[in-house]
Amino acid sequence: MTTPNTAVKIGKLTLRNPIVTGSGTFGFGPEMANIVDLNKLGAVVVKSTSREARLGNPTPRIVETPSGILNAIGLQNSGVDNFIAEKLPFLRNYDVPIIVNLVGTEVADYVHLAEKLTAAGGVHGLEINISCPNVSHGCDFAVDPVLTAELIREVRKVTDLTLITKLSPNVTDMVLIARAAVDAGSDALSLINTLIGTAIDIRRRKFRLANITGGLSGPAVKPIALRCVWQVHRALPNVPLIGMGGIMSATDAVEFLLAGATAVAIGTATFVNPTAATDVAAGLEAYLVENGINDVNALVGAVTQ
C-alpha cells in the first residue's frame, strides 16, 4: 500500500497532518523546537496573545485532579508587539502553519490583534479565544451567540487569514455558539477549551488554586470533548473542527476524527510526554496503514451507532 494521505484542510490552510498543538501547552515554539521537529506537525498553535503584556494569575496555578489538571494561568504573555518582534521571527524558520491564539476583553482588542498579526506576515491563522475560564470576562463572549457573532464579524473584516473560533464547553448549547461564529465568518472551530472546576485542600481549608477556579483538561474531560465535537459536527457537517480535550494517544485522536474533527490538538499530553504531538502524528499514520485507509479524511465523522 502507498503512504496514506494525511493532509487536511482547515479553512485556507492545508495541514500536512491533522495534529496541531493546543494553545497554552506548547509555548511559542522555541522550547518545544528543542524536543520535537515542528515541521512534523500539522500546525503550531501558540499561547494566547493579548494586546498588552499580562502577568497572569498568582501561584499556585496548576493542580492535579483525577486524570486531569486544573489550570489558572490567566493568560500570561508578553503582548502582541513582543510576540511579533521576538517570537514570530523564530517561528518563520519553520515550514509549518502558525496559528496565533488571540485574547482580549473587548471587540476592539481582538480587531487590533488581528490587524497587527495579519500585517506582521508569517502568521497563517488566527484562533479567537472567546472561552478562557481563568480571567474575569474570559467567557463572556463564549456563552452568548450574539456577542460571539459580533466579535467574529468585526475580526473577519480586518483579516483574510483563516479564522478559527475556540469554543467553551461551559454552555448549555454549544451548537448555538458554533453556528453564530460560523455565520459571522469563522472558517473553522476549535473545541473544547477547559471546563471550569476547583479543588480544595482540606488541611488548610483553602482553595488549591490562588485563582479559586481553574480550567479542567486532560483525559478526565475526553468524553465531554468528544461529545461536543460530535454534536457540533452533526449540526455543522461542513465546518472543519479542531477537536481537543484529553488526547494522549493516536487512539484518542482517531476517536475525535471519527466523531467529526478534521484536526486535533494535543494539549496537556505534552506536559506528560513532551513528544506527544509528533508521537500521535506517527501513530495516526500507522493506524491508517494498518487499516488500509488511504486518506485520513475518510475517518472524519465516520462513527456509526
Binding site: E31, T59, I62, N71, Q76
Partner: protein, 265 residues
Amino acid sequence: MPHQVFARVLSNDPIIAGHQVITCDAPSLAAEAQPGHFVNVLTAERSDPLLRKPFSVYTVDRDRGQISLLYSIVGATTEGMARKRPGEILDIVGPLGGRLFQADPRPNAAHIMVGGGYGVPPLVFLSRELRLAQSEPNITFIIGARRKDLLLCEAELIAAGVDARVATEDGSHGISGRVTDVLEPLLLEKSGLPVTVYCCGPTPMMRAVAELCLRLGVTCQLSVEVAMPCGIGVCMGCVLDLTDGRRVRCCVDGPVFEAAEVKWS
C-alpha cells in the same frame, strides 16, 4: 536537550527510613547532566496521577552511563519508584533546568552548601563535580534535618573528605537548631575568603538562608522548590516573581536563582 529515556533500573535501595536511591542506565542523561539539573519521572501506567514529578540528579557516572536519584517516598510517583526492581524500566524526561548551579570560579573561594531534605542530593552532586574540577576545593556542607534519622548523605560526604556540619531541630545529632545557626558563624569563620553559598531545601529554610546571606552580603544561589507540571517551559505553572518585576518559569529560567533575585511572597 530534554528527551525521554526508558532507563533500565540497576539498583534501588533504601538509605534511611522512607528514602531510597534508584540508579539507572541512562547514558544520554549521564552525559548531559550537571548539578542543578532535574528529571521528570512518570510511574503511573494510566492517567491518575497524570503528571510527571521532578527529581534532582543525585549522582552521575559518566563512564558507565548511569545516573541516580535520591527520593523520599511520599506519594504515588515515589511509591511507584520504590516498587521498581532491578531490570525494570523507569520513564524519565531530562535533563531539565535552564539555569544551574554555577561554581564560584574564584581560585580560593569557600564553597558552602546548605541542604535540607531532598535538597541535599543536588548539592552532593555539586560538591562532587567541584572536587573533580578543582584540586582541593574549600567545601563546607551544612545538612539540616528534623531528626538524626532523617539526615541525608552525611557519611558519604565525610568519606569524601568534605567538611560536613549538621543541624538537627531536635538536637539529636550535630548542632541543635537550624542550618542558619551553623551558617552564620561559618560565614564569619570564612570571612577572609570569597564565599558562595549554594542552597537547596524546603522554602522556609531557603528563605532564611537567602535573607541571612543578603544581610551579610554573601553571594547565594538557590535551587527553588516549586511544582513543575511540565518541566519544559510550556505550561507556565511554575512561575516565580523576581525582584525586578519579572515573572519567570522555574523550570527553564531556573531552577537556580541568585538570592537577591527572588521575591518572597
